[in-house]
Each structure stands twice: as structure tokens, then as C-alpha cells.
């Protein structure tokens, strides 16, 4: 099947690597930033399209790596064109938009894959597999951590709430989704956050408490709060029968101790690095492609994407009211 990417930023490039290794016919890219599109096209030997409509016409699958506020319109456009869709997370910025997108894809008979990449990180998969196998018993306390730094330069749209939904919707969504994937539906959400008003200071930090229908509880910690270059994640899941602990600090398999060179270049947007054979973004794209090609279910459904957004928005609601937010009619 033929595939094209719209958007040539950090995610467009991460996905491109996946498409190259997917077995799909990776034909083209289109991006608002023509220079970025040209660079990506050159790297992968594909065509840079001047406008995304032409690219859309040329493919069977379109991969949307554009800012989140564009997801809805572009998904609707692609569904009208009867193309299967890969769409970066969050699915949308409002529940209404997300529902409309899912409905449009169902109606058009096209597949919609929301790229929740954390589900494809091997440590998160291994933890979920142990939990699903009952090795932890009933889940009790889940702690998930994800702190990076404020996106920089071209990627600064992330810090614009109107475009990205803000740090909770963009970043903490991953762990909200993962928590739900291992512990089920959430009944209560309580959140606290801060956004720096100081120039050059790290941006956002939030703590979200979830109470699950199962009786489990979770603390989701997220932030763009470290100085540029730092990104730390962690898992701590305790159940009645066992415990899983993991911190990104602990699992570097290669650590350079080199003479300092000129200032190390920092990526514009921090994404977790991992010295493993297959980049999780590649795993994700391969999975999505094979599921579309073979008409098999996705590991993460559009509805999962919608529910993760519901949790993120509930957290924002809690921030606004200062109160506990109840989901699913208490």
C-alpha cells in the first residue's frame, strides 16, 4: 500500500523511519515548512508534495503528523477521500471533535489509528503483559512519571494551549492512556498544576490522581519542567501479588563519558531515547501498517484515544474547579 506523511517535524521524521522499515510503499511527504519537507523527502528518497491534497490523492494511507489543532479537519478530509489514517496523538482537542472523527472514519469505511507510542515501548508492553497474566494480582497503586523539557524553536506550538491542548493533553495523555490500559475505567480525577510565568524558566508541571472503578489508584506525574536535554520516565505498579519498578535513569545500556566538546545540540522537542534494537516509533508504525494491510485490530483503538483525551480534559476541569471530577455518572 502507498503511504504519505503530512508534517515534517519531530514526529514526521520519527514516523518516516518507521514507514521506511514497514514494507509499505512510502511515496511522499507534504509540510507547511517546505524546507523540512524537502529534507525529509531527500533522506528517504521520496517526493515532497507542494500541497497535501495532491499527496492525499497519491496514497492509500495518510499519516498525519501535524499540530493537534489540525487533526480534526485533516482526518475528516482524509476520510472523505477514503484513505486509511494514522493520526498523531492526542486524537483531538475536544471530545466532540474526537467523536466526529471516529464517526466519519467508520462511515467512510477507513481505518483510524491514533499513534499512542508509549503502548509500543518494550518496558511498558512487558509490564502490561505481566499484569494481564495476573502476576501482580489486583492492582493497588500505579505511579507513572514523564518529565521532559519545554519544546523549543519550530516545535514551540506545543506550548500553545490552543494548538496542543497544553502539557496535560499532549504529554500526560500517554500515561493516562497507559494507566487506563492496565487498570480499566476511571471514576475520579483530581489534578494540580503550575505553569511558569518566568521567562526562560521550565514550563509546566502537573500531578494527576486517578481513582479507578476497580479500586486501584494512580498518580500521574508530568512536566515540561527540566532544563533542555533532560527527559525522564518511570513506572511503579504495585498489586496485591507483586510489584513492577522501572526508571529511565536505570536502563541506559550505553553511557558515554567523553571529553566535553562544543555544546551538545538539544532536540527541539524531547522524546525518550532508548538504546534498543527497534525504535518504538518504528514498532508502532509497523504495527499500524500490518493491522491495516491485514485488516486486523489495532493494539490501541480510536476509542482508547478518545478515552485518554477524556481523562486529560477531566484533569484540566479539576484544575479549573479545584475539585475532584467524577466520570461515568459517579
Amino acid at each position: 500500500m502507498k503511504v504519505g506523511i503530512i508534517g515534517a517535524g519531530t514526529m514526521g521524521n520519527a514516523h518516516a523511519k518507521g514507514w521506511q522499515k514497514s514494507g509499505a510503499e512510502f511515496v511522499g511527504v507534504s509540510a507547511k515548512n517546505k524546507e523540512s519537507a524537502k529534507q525529509l523527502a531527500e533522506t528517504y528518497g521520496i517526493k515532497a508534495y507542494d500541497n497535501h491534497q495532491d499527496l492525499l490523492e497519491a496514497v492509500d494511507i495518510i499519516d498525519l503528523c501535524v499540530p493537534s489543532d489540525l487533526h480534526k479537519d485533516m482526518v475528516l478530509e482524509a476520510a472523505r477521500a477514503k484513505k486509511h489514517i494514522i493520526c498523531e496523538k492526542p486524537i483531538a482537542l475536544t471530545l466532540e471533535d474526537a467523536e466526529a472523527m471516529i464517526a466519519a472514519c467508520n462511515k467512510a469505511g477507513v481505518r483510524l489509528f491514533i499513534a499512542m507510542v508509549v503502548r509500543f515501548f518494550p518496558q511498558y508492553r512487558a509490564a502490561k503483559a505481566a499484569i494481564d497474566a495476573g502476576q501482580l494480582g489486583e492492582l493497588g497503586v500505579i505511579r507513572l512519571k514523564r518529565i521532559g523539557y519545554q519544546p523549543l524553536g519550530d516545535e514551540a506550538w506545543f506550548t500553545d494551549d490552543k494548538r496542543s491542548g497544553g502539557m496535560i493533553v499532549d504529554l500526560m495523555l500517554h500515561d493516562l492512556d497507559y494507566a487506563r490500559s492496565i487498570a480499566g475505567e476511571v471514576k475520579r480525577v483530581y489534578a494540580k498544576s503550575i505553569r511558569s510565568t518566568v521567562n526562560d524558566a521550565p514550563g509546566d508541571y502537573a500531578l494527576i490522581t486517578l481513582g479507578f472503578e476497580s479500586g486501584a489508584m494512580a498518580l500521574i506525574e508530568g512536566g515540561w519542567a527540566y532544563p533542555p536535554g533532560f527527559f525522564r520516565t518511570g513506572i511503579d505498579i504495585a498489586g496485591s501479588e507483586g510489584l513492577i519498578e522501572w526508571q529511565s535513569d536505570d536502563s541506559q545500556t550505553i553511557k558515554p563519558f567523553l571529553k566535553p566538546q562544543e555544546r551538545t545540540k538539544v532536540a527541539r522537542v524531547g522524546i525518550p531515547s532508548s538504546s534498543i534494537a527497534e525504535d518504538p516509533y518504528v514498532t508502532e508504525i509497523k504495527h499500524a501498517y500490518e493491522a491495516i494491510r491485514d485488516n486486523k485490530p489495532f493494539l490501541v483503538s480510536p476509542e482508547d484515544g478518545l478515552e485518554a483525551l477524556r481523562l486529560a480534559l477531566a484533569a484540566k476541569e479539576s484544575l479549573k474547579t479545584g475539585q475532584v471530577v467524577f466520570l461515568g455518572g459517579n
Binding site: 505511579r143 486501584a216 475532584v324 467524577f326
Partner: protein
């Protein structure tokens, strides 16, 4: 200085005994315990004098005692010590109800004795260093603190920790107070409201809370969380647990893992498959020394009744918030 231990009920009694025997300017007189079996057992184990009544111990011309009874018995023991005019270092939480907490204040004021709450972590070198960094302004304005004081359930060491009547509660009562005290001290501000999820997912056979996630707001605008859960697998985890915190501020973050100084230790003679053998500093010795110094110098100890009472207030409010499923004002 003649010092003794009232009751050997608390798990920390053993540690206090070792410290009192070791300190140069202390004459360790012995311990009292009305439980004959417990008294005899520890007297033989450590080769120290045991008194079968507290009055008998208090008759030994003591200057101070460490109260290591069950939380619910602190007030009764304070009364006896106060009547004998003996200064008190009291285990935390200082009581199980606000009424008892206030009654303790009356007793010590009436008797004019010193009262120190046993919060040893204020003497931990990493916490002291953190306090210095905060005061020096390394972090700029403080935004938030994410703290963890999770452990295994302590009932294998002393069964009353899982007895609601004697302990006043489970994990929340046991562990919230340590971090709360550190937050108050580091921030120089009082908690203004909190929300908590509290449950018992880990030891269903014990009728007590074993899990708690607390989110607090402080009067100065900082928010913080406390994971007080007994969530480390009982008898399986390589050590009792952890005390960690990450402080987020304008200039980045500082992470503290106070018990990170240990050896990985394996022996066929041990019951656990792996052990973490701590080699870090002993903050309890510094705490006892401060108690002794306050008596010698006839001044208030650095951690007083109010610190113990504020921590108790917060621990009790956690249960209220969890029950009401609402934010509770303090």
C-alpha cells in the same frame, strides 16, 4: 544524662536502644514494657534492664525518655512522664486523634517539660542539603514536590501497626507524617487543603488502609503529593521501602533518594532473595543528639509538639477527604 525508653512496642525502639547505648554522654537506664513477654524477650536479646511498669522506669531519676508505645497509648505515657517531670522524645504520629494531640500539649505545658516529635528525616544529610539548596535559591521559586514514602506493611515486625485501634490507621497514619513534616520545613508554609485516595488493595486480610495518594496545597501556593502506601511486597522486597522526593522549581528540579546508599547483598543464609544493605548516614542518632542538646542547653528542641500535631492533623484529614471524595480544607 540518664535516659530510658518507654515501651518497646514501636519498630524503632530497637534502633533507639542501640543509639542510647552508643552515645557517650548518655547513661541508658533501661526500658519499660507492660507486656511481660515482649519485655523479657528484648531484655534478653539486648542484655539491658527491663522494667515491667512505666512508673518503675520513671522512678530511676531520668532526665528524658523516648516514647515508643503504640500510637494510641502515647497520651497515657506522656501523662506519666509529665507527672515525673521527664522530658519526652515521642514517636510519630504523636497521637491517633486531635483530642489526644491537644491533651498532650496541655500535659507538657503544665509540667514544663520538653517535647520533641521523632521526625529523623529532618536530620538526613540529603534532606539537609536540599534545604540548603532551596534556601540558597538554586531552584528559584518552588513550584511543586512529588514525594514517595512507600514501604512494605510493617506488621511482621510489630503486629499492632495493622491494628486500627492501636495505630489509629494504616499506611496513611504511618507514612504521611514524615513527608508532610519535611514539606512544612522545606517550604516554611502550612498545608491549606488536600485530597486523598485511600484504600486497602495490598493486604485484604488486614482491616486497615494499605494505600494512599495524597495531593496537598500549601498556603504559599506550592502543591505536593505524598505516596504513603504500604505497596512494596511484604517479605519479598529487598528492603523496608523508600523515602524519595523531587522538588520542581523555576530553575529545574532536584531529586532526592534518601536511602539510595546501599549494597546489593545476596546470601543463602538470608530469608530474602536479595537485600539492600544500607550504609548511609544514621539520621536518628542526630535526632536523639538534638533531643539531648535541647535538655542540656535548656531550650526548645528543633522539632516540637506543633510539628507533630500539624502532621497528625493532615494524616487525619486524608481519611476525611478519601471518605468524602472531596477536597478538604485545613
Amino acid at each position: 544524662m540518664r535516659l530510658g525508653i518507654m515501651s518497646f512496642a514501636h519498630v524503632h525502639a530497637d534502633g533507639f536502644l542501640q543509639i542510647l547505648r552508643k552515645l557517650q554522654d548518655v547513661e541508658f537506664v533501661g526500658f519499660s514494657d507492660t507486656d511481660k513477654e515482649q519485655g523479657k524477650f528484648f531484655a534478653e536479646l539486648y542484655g539491658v534492664p527491663w522494667f515491667s511498669s512505666h512508673e518503675e522506669l520513671l522512678d530511676q531519676k531520668l532526665e528524658g525518655v523516648v516514647i515508643c508505645s503504640e500510637n494510641a497509648n502515647h497520651l497515657a505515657d506522656v501523662k506519666l512522664a509529665a507527672a515525673a517531670g521527664v522530658h519526652i522524645l515521642c514517636e510519630k504520629p504523636i497521637a491517633t486523634t486531635l483530642e489526644d494531640g491537644l491533651a498532650i500539649k496541655e500535659e507538657i505545658d503544665k509540667a514544663g517539660i520538653k517535647f520533641m516529635t521523632a521526625f529523623p528525616m529532618r536530620f538526613d544529610p540529603s534532606i539537609v542539603a536540599l534545604k540548603e539548596m532551596i534556601e540558597r535559591g538554586d531552584l528559584g521559586k518552588i513550584y511543586a514536590i512529588n514525594g514517595i514514602n512507600h514501604s512494605e506493611i510493617p506488621r511482621r515486625h510489630r503486629s499492632w501497626f495493622a491494628d486500627k485501634k492501636l495505630a489509629g490507621g494504616g499506611a496513611v497514619m504511618d507514612h504521611t507524617v514524615h513527608l508532610l513534616d519535611l514539606y512544612r520545613w522545606l517550604l516554611d508554609s502550612e498545608a491549606s487543603d488536600l485530597y486523598a485516595e485511600v484504600a486497602n488493595p495490598f493486604t485484604p486480610d488486614a482491616e486497615i488502609d494499605t494505600a494512599g495518594l495524597v495531593t496537598l496545597s500549601f498556603a504559599n501556593g506550592v502543591f505536593a503529593s505524598i505516596d504513603c502506601s504500604w505497596s512494596r511486597p511484604e517479605a519479598v522486597y529487598p528492603r523496608w521501602g523508600h523515602l524519595k522526593m523531587e522538588v520542581i522549581g523555576e530553575q529545574g528540579a532536584i531529586a532526592v533518594d534518601a536511602f539510595n546508599q546501599y549494597l546489593n547483598y545476596y546470601s543463602k543464609q538470608n530469608s530474602r532473595q536479595a537485600n539492600w544493605l544500607g550504609w548511609g548516614s544514621d539520621s536518628s542518632t542526630a535526632m536523639v543528639q538534638e533531643f539531648i542538646n535541647s535538655i542540656k542547653e535548656d531550650r526548645d528542641p528543633s522539632i516540637g509538639w506543633k510539628d507533630g500535631f500539624e502532621a497528625l492533623k493532615v494524616a487525619l484529614a486524608c481519611y476525611d477527604a478519601a471518605k468524602a471524595k472531596q477536597v478538604v480544607k485545613l
